[in-house]
Amino acid sequence: MWNRAVIDDQTFDREAVVRMSAGDPEGLSRLYDRHARAVYSLALRIVEDRAEAEDIVQDVFSQAWFQARRYDHERAPVAGWLLMMARSRAIDRLRSRRVRPDNAAAFDDHQFDAVVDPAPRQDLEAISAEQAGRVRNALEALPPEKRRAIELAYYEGLTHTEIAERLGEPLGTVKTRIRLGMLRLREALGQA
């Protein structure tokens, strides 16, 4: 059930994006005021470096500015769209750190295919702050091995194969843990 505040915020965001698509910087300014903190916080959680997190904020909002015309509010709420971009950018940076210059030459296309591709093409519904809070509590209450697997996937951009290696667990176990953990978090989130 959407409460009134969620709907109003989304309308506000959508208007800001419409302004941006018409080239009105006021739209960008409003969007920044509402979401820069969330974008910055997520980027910082992932890259753990303030200067890089700031660069990501700049990248995300400039991408939003230039893609405003293509943004489709039926696919994702504005906040979800911005956070998805922030996570992709942040994980790109983590990934490029892992590829050191001395082995960059060996980083061919084939290997690139084995790298996580952090952009599922799915619609996203709006969730409230309260629902997000319930997910936080449920994540903290998960058995540590499930929680760790989910965190490595989302915040470090590891594939389940890499997670299995990192944790020294069989791949099948990791896959199952991620799925069951996610289903548990979904229960906590409740009905959207």
Binding site: Y40, S62, V116, H160
Partner: protein, 271 residues
């Protein structure tokens, strides 16, 4: 992979923790499996929530200025629309990455141009309010100011139309240095800007034609300024057939219903 194997991946898919190949396999499966598809849809908001539950911290205050400047920075160079367009035939010979880079630059320049227009509207509206306040006796000036403001508004609308198409026109034999660019949207109109047009002889005018599969349709008359520039913004009829080309010809003053004179500019739409 079997349904059971793919079903194991729904959580990792929603988290974006799959390799590209795995992701493609899952997406192919989702297209035909309602159960897995429903599960992924249910799990997507969980991933969204994970993005929001991190410890919240304020970015430095100066970052906002940096972000705003990066997209419409002060002192940026003006409009791509007035630039000499790159001849279409040359593009084919470019390496793909270079063409992509050029397109990206054009997109940025377009964004800047929209911004320039937007600023102009603000200034024009302001000028208009002042003029209105001053006197009703400046009726003519008022109408002109209103028209200019309306035109700028319309240009913004055209440039931001979802169905906008671009036409680059190149100079023909009588005017090899001339060039022009048009943006056309069925829903919002046509905007056209030419540069380096030769001065008109007495009793002549340039006429812009939208060439459809059926016939050339006049889009209006053009009189270049002393610098050889001419521009035009017009509404286009909703039932106009899709343009296959645009052309500028020289015609007797007052214009003609169908082109008779020599062609000065010709171009076809690019998408």
């Amino acid at each position: 992979m079997t349904h059971e194997e793919l079903r194991e991946l729904t959580g990792s898919y929603a988290l974006g923790a799959l390799t590209r190949d795995e992701r493609r396999s899952v997406e192919a499966h989702l297209a035909e499996c309602d159960a897995c598809s429903a599960e992924v849809r249910a799990l997507m908001p969980v991933a969204d929530a994970l993005g929001r539950i991190v410890p919240q911290q304020d970015p430095p205050a100066a970052l906002k200025r940096r972000v705003l400047d990066s997209v419409y920075g002060a002192g940026q160079r003006l409009p791509s629309v007035y630039d000499r367009p790159v001849a279409a035939k040359r593009m084919g010979a470019w390496p793909a990455w270079l063409a992509a880079a050029a397109a990206a630059v054009a997109a940025v320049a377009l964004g800047v141009y929209v911004q320039v227009l937007q600023d102009r509207i603000v200034r024009l509206e302001e000028g208009l309010r002042q003029a209105e306040a001053r006197a009703a006796s400046t009726g003519t000036a008022l109408v002109a100011a209103r028209e200019t403001a309306n035109e700028a508004q319309m240009r913004v609308a055209i440039l931001s139309a979802p169905d906008v198409a671009r036409v680059d026109l190149t100079g023909q034999t009588p005017a090899p240095r001339a060039s022009a660019r048009a943006y056309w949207s069925r829903s919002r109109g046509l905007m056209f800007t030419a540069s380096d047009l030769p001065p008109l002889p007495a009793g002549k005018v340039y006429q812009l034609w939208v060439v459809t599969a059926e016939a050339p349709v006049s889009a209006g008359l053009l009189r270049p300024d002393p610098g050889g520039r001419a521009s035009l913004t017009v509404e286009t009829p909703q039932d106009l057939a899709t343009p296959v080309a645009m052309a500028v010809t020289i015609e007797p003053a007052g214009g003609v219903p169908a082109p008779t004179g020599e062609k000065y500019l010709i171009g076809t739409p690019t998408h």
